[in-house]
Subunit: 339 residues, 2 copies
């Protein structure tokens, strides 16, 4: 007597083979669209598949093919629309190419997210795209060296061995922002960064200082918000404005922090943009609805996500770039009421 299919689970390839009166192998051929299957057999098998509601088990398949057709995507906070939009873009690209995307959030407490990434690997992803945020370049380098699959980072331009880096041209962006503020007659510009994305903040911060010193304004720095979110931006901006010597402009690390600054100005009775102009980064859609609407550096999240996906595919085919590779994107300044 054959083994009883006691399992409550789903039908396997063997169930289909039995139902169709063929061997497992033939079913496998049908499922993988192998050409050498007799049309009649194919039909029989397909009917059996439909009857039983069979779906091949990707894990079992991945075990033997060493390929899961799955990429991982990681960011520290998908609730930030910039990350969310990029995630969406990757999802769309993945679907188009028959890939599946496994999404996860980096856990700040878990070895700065490296633990989360390791877990992603145990899932058998063929590649990983991530916003480094809390991870340093050397974290990324180490991860890329040991993970055994391609790695793409989004949002920071760094030449890390074996890693493709996709990021906006921070210098161009800084120039756009600063030129605009100077043109608006602003003279004392505050830079509102955060402490937990050290290297991205650093790139952006350096670019802004540079642009400001090239202009006619004076820069004042604040790197004191925790997470780059609305609430933290509000707190940081408040202490900053209370302390600051008549700041007349505030640049937020991202739109959510800039929104926090908007609230801070409201709290303090400062008019935007007359008293204080505010500019953010990212170009999240909600920025159009604030009071006043937020001027921002728009990033092409979808385009960058698409590029990330393609880079992953390309690495799979031709191997990763040994000395690393940086793909730079042009920023765009969207001027709205807050400046």
């Amino acid at each position: 007597m054959k083994r009883m299919p006691v399992r409550a689970g789903r039908p396997t390839i063997i169930d289909v083979a039995t139902e169709a009166g063929v061997s497992r192998q033939t079913v496998s051929r049908v499922v993988t669209n192998h050409p050498r299957v007799a049309p009649a057999t194919r039909v029989r098998v397909e009917k059996a598949i439909a009857t039983l509601g069979y779906r091949p088990n990707r894990m079992a398949r991945a075990l033997v093919t060493q390929t899961s057709l799955t990429f991982g995507f990681a960011a520290i906070d998908m609730r930030d629309p910039h990350f969310g939009d990029t995630c969406f873009g990757m999802q769309v690209a993945a679907r188009e190419h028959g890939y599946y995307l496994v999404v996860t959030e980096l856990d700040f407490d878990d070895d700065r997210g490296l633990g989360t990434l390791e877990t992603l690997l145990t899932l058998g992803v063929d590649g990983v795209a991530l916003f480094p945020s809390i991870l340093s370049d050397s974290d990324i380098e180490q991860f890329a060296a040991s993970c055994g699959c391609p790695v793409v980072m989004i949002g920071r331009a760094s030449k890390v061995p074996n890693v493709v880096s996709i990021a906006m041209d921070e210098n161009a962006a800084a120039e756009l922002v600063v030129d605009h503020l100077v043109e608006r007659g602003k003279k004392r510009i505050g830079i509102l960064m955060n402490e937990i994305f050290p290297e991205v903040v650093h790139q952006r911060y350096v670019a802004l200082r540079e642009a400001i010193s090239n202009g006619t304004a004076v820069a004042t720095a604040a790197v004191e918000a925790g997470y780059p979110r609305i609430a933290q931006g509000r707190i940081a901006a408040t202490t900053f404005l209370q302390r600051g010597p008549d700041l007349d402009a505030l640049i937020g690390f991202n739109d959510t922090m800039a929104m926090g600054a908007l609230l801070a100005c409201d709290d303090l009775g400062l008019r935007v943009p007359q008293d204080v102009a505010i500019v953010g980064y990212d170009g999240i859609p909600f920025g159009a609805l604030t009071n006043p609407p937020l001027t921002t550096i728009v990033q092409d999240s979808i385009g960058m996500a698409d590029a990330a996906f393609r880079s992953l595919l390309s690495c799979l085919e031709h191997g990763p770039p040994p000395e690393g590779k940086v793909l730079l994107w042009e920023p765009e300044l969207l001027i709205r009421g807050s400046s």
Copy 2:
């Protein structure tokens, strides 16, 4: 001569066993924290694991244990903060319990998302939590019957066999909204729904009509926005307001549609809340920043996510509720400037 480890991949349990001079099984015991391992052996194995950077392959493990310690989470658009927040809540709950969350977006074009869900299953998840949105109750019922794992739906209160449903009390919410608007002196209330979430819209819509007819106001319905997002809400609200016979209040299906209505009023030169009061659903954080800030029905996304996770675990242990089960949550009205 033994097989050459040509694989570029990661070390396997055999590599560790060789390195530590024990059998695979012993390594497996160490990795799974089996108690019956000699302390000295354990140390040797752990050292080998560290040296080789070994991480167990979850797919291989899941294949034999029939358990992946992974749940799937699906919603139609993670970029909507309500879905995003719930996703975040599940991620946190999962991590706390040693589970992993695989997140995916329902594809509208792909059999109304059922195809996406099937793909999720092939990944070997132990359970699925989802926002039904575009899926009907009978879609869900059919899916639950064939998926072989627990299913939890969030955001619609329906008694579907074998499914736990977690949702807000729509009648209570509708009463809160309508009582508030009537109290504000509003008499002609427009209901701005959408066409692609048929059953959730239906529940909410019916509850609102009922509440309005109990009050002293008159309801006017519009179910004409496509996706419930800002842009579509703006378009729908515009035609609605242009056509409508002096509407003095607008209830959006969710906050993003209500935000669209805010923009529509601005376009048409209508003052909010004097000419038209606007109320949304969900309580997304960005609602605090609009002009004016948005009155909204707050949903406890995190709490509901947590309940969803626990329900999944409970189904795994005690089986799913045969006739279905509905967990109802109390809504809360957050009054802000838009009403």
